[in-house]
């Protein structure tokens, strides 16, 4: 039914080196143990040196609550609302993030304000963090840079209700989000540079 097929694909195919017969030494367990000890002790002393001198940490264990890893600039944590200096959100309740969200975890009720500069603001802005999957589509959709992904990830709670974040829980002053906003602005600039150069 089946033909003996081995088609030659473009590019090279290599056969893996397979040890068919073990030598006498390999069949003894002793050399393997010595080899293993050599590798593990090398790692041990290197980590020890790094740990004592503190110069170059090569061990990957981080003593978590005391020590924290620094996430990359691009890191996406939980979405938060950027607060203006007045404490009001920058959000204009256009609802684009609500549309973009794949899990429907954002609830917005728009309202009108008296202040002249921004006429609309969200009366209600809730994010159900138990459904949010940190995909960042809300941030990408936002035309006002009002919702951004913060660096906060420690949001575990004992009850589901505690995972439901209201507008007041989500507001973060702009100064605290500087790293994310700088990263985003840098990315936006880089994204539009080649397009403008090509025009």
């Amino acid at each position: 039914m089946f033909h003996a097929i081995v088609r030659v694909v473009p590019g090279s195919v290599i056969k893996v080196r397979r040890e068919e017969k073990l030598g006498f030494l390999e069949r003894l367990y002793v050399p393997a143990i010595a080899k293993g000890l050599r590798v593990t002790s090398r790692h041990f002393f290197r980590n020890l040196r790094g740990f004592v001198t503190g110069k170059r940490r090569t061990d990957f264990v981080v003593q978590y609550p005391e020590e924290r890893v620094d996430y990359a600039d691009a890191f996406r944590g939980m979405p938060v609302l950027v607060a203006l200096e007045s404490g009001e959100p920058r959000c204009v309740a256009c609802g684009l993030c609500e549309f973009a969200c794949p899990t429907d975890c954002i609830t917005i009720v728009p309202g009108e304000t008296e202040t002249a500069r921004i006429e609309r603001h969200p009366e209600v802005f809730d994010i159900d963090m138990s459904r949010c999957m940190f995909c960042g589509l809300c941030e990408e959709a936002c035309p006002e840079e009002a919702i951004v992904m913060s660096r906060e990830v420690e949001i575990a709670a004992y009850r589901r209700d505690d995972m439901y974040f209201r507008k007041q829980d989500l507001l973060v002053p702009e100064a605290l989000l500087k790293r994310r906003l700088d990263f985003l602005r840098g990315e936006y600039r880089r994204a539009s540079e080649p397009a403008e150069a090509g025009e």
């Binding site: 039914m1 089946f2 033909h3 097929i5 088609r7």
Partner: protein, 162 residues
């Protein structure tokens, strides 16, 4: 029938004209709509013919086009390792009798995929050796990938204590 510049489809059209209802090669994917009665014949020909030589049934799935009749379509994706070409076969099924001959005897890979289609679409495969639910549990009611199954529908709790 057209051949869409695909030697694969040309070969099928020449050899089994009675089994094919329609062919196309949209986006370069050779596709043939096969009549329900001739499915196994076409599959066997595709496997054993030296020019087609499809050793693999890579994928088997169903599509529900709800308002349309016939409602269901079962889609077979074949791949030939030796010739490096692909073929898509489709069979249309009506809502009243969603059943089809099983391809397990021809391709062993059809076993789990047919179980999956039965599980999620409720399409029966006649002659399948062991047609039971695979992704969902036995007590599940309905077939969730049908378009008329609401996404929000809750299922009864099962297990001890319920």
């Amino acid at each position: 029938m057209e051949d869409h510049a695909s030697p694969l489809l040309r070969r099928l059209i020449d050899e089994l004209p009675q089994a094919l209802q329609e062919t196309h090669a949209q986006h370069g994917d050779a596709t043939a709509l096969v009549s329900r009665a001739h499915l196994l014949e076409v599959l066997r020909f595709a496997r054993d013919d030296s020019q087609l030589d499809f050793e693999m049934l890579t994928d088997l799935c169903a599509v529900d086009y709800l308002p349309r009749t016939p409602r269901f379509e079962v889609v077979y994706h074949l791949y030939s390792v030796s010739q490096n070409h692909r073929l898509r076969l489709k069979v249309q099924l009506s809502e009243e009798s969603p059943s089809l001959a099983s391809a397990v005897a021809l391709y062993a890979s059809a076993d789990w995929m047919e179980r999956e289609v039965w599980d999620l679409y409720g399409i029966r495969f006649e002659g399948h050796p062991d047609l039971r639910r695979i992704l969902l549990y036995d007590e599940f009611e309905g077939h969730p990938l049908r378009k008329d199954y609401p996404k929000e529908r809750r299922q009864p709790l099962v297990g001890p204590g319920n």
